[in-house]
């Protein structure tokens, strides 16, 4: 082994890139995209938690100003959108779910979105540079491992 570098992904992209990462991530956590009616439902007696991804920028030039994706899982609703500063944020809502639990699930969701973004970014760059992926696996802890040659 020669070197080990730990990187924190910077999520930068237009809304199509972000929404693709969200769509890929929610499946791994048992969430599904809410129906239009469910997405518009507003309830007053729910707990809420809002989390922003600091290392993110949704490019306004590629849509996303008014865009959002609403996903649901067993009484928890998560709305992904672009905040006023251009960062990705998720608003978690749930009836009879504590704020702490909403915060925990929200952070897990954003982790999954970041993982999906990083995976697709890396794989598409590897293809562009004609690097060869020799092996790819999902580990028990849901980490994704990729082995590459020809660089």
């Amino acid at each position: 082994m020669s070197s080990v570098i730990v990187l924190a992904p910077l999520i930068v992209g237009g809304w199509p890139v972000i929404s693709a990462a969200v769509t890929a991530a929610i499946g791994t956590m048992g969430f599904s995209v809410a129906t239009a009616a469910a997405a518009q439902r507003r309830e007053s007696s729910v707990n809420r938690a809002e989390i922003e991804v600091e290392n993110s920028e949704i490019l306004a030039s590629q849509g996303g100003l008014e865009q959002s994706i609403v996903v649901e899982r067993g009484g928890i609703r998560a709305t992904f959108s672009r905040d006023a500063r251009g960062a990705l944020k998720v608003c978690m809502e749930g009836e009879s779910v504590s704020k702490a639990e909403l915060q925990r699930v929200g952070e897990e969701l954003l982790g999954a979105v970041t993982q999906q973004y990083a995976y697709h970014r890396i794989v598409s760059e590897l293809k562009n540079r004609n690097m060869v992926v020799v092996d790819e696996e999902v580990l028990a802890d849901r980490s994704v491992k990729i082995r590459v040659r020809n660089f």
């Binding site: 070197s3 080990v4 730990v6 990729i146």
Partner: protein, 73 residues
């Protein structure tokens, strides 16, 4: 000789760990930094023995060359 390989691990929290295997000398850092440019900001870096191997080899060649040319080393 070990085959040159890069192993990329993406954690469920989105952290990316890039390990270079079998790449000697500072070239392993070039490869690792390529991934840093692709994906984001570097949080930590650890160099292991292979990083220093090529440098040691290069220094030995330099000493031999100096012996023949009368230079220091």
């Amino acid at each position: 000789m070990a085959e040159e390989e890069v192993e990329i691990e993406i954690s469920p929290q989105g952290k990316v760990i890039v390990r270079t295997n079998g790449i000697k000398g500072s070239r392993c850092l070039d490869v690792a930094e390529l991934f840093a440019r692709i994906i984001g900001t570097e949080e930590s870096r650890q160099l292991t023995s292979e990083y220093y191997e090529q440098d040691t080899e290069a220094r030995r060649h330099q000493r031999v060359a100096n012996r023949y040319t009368g230079g220091d080393g």
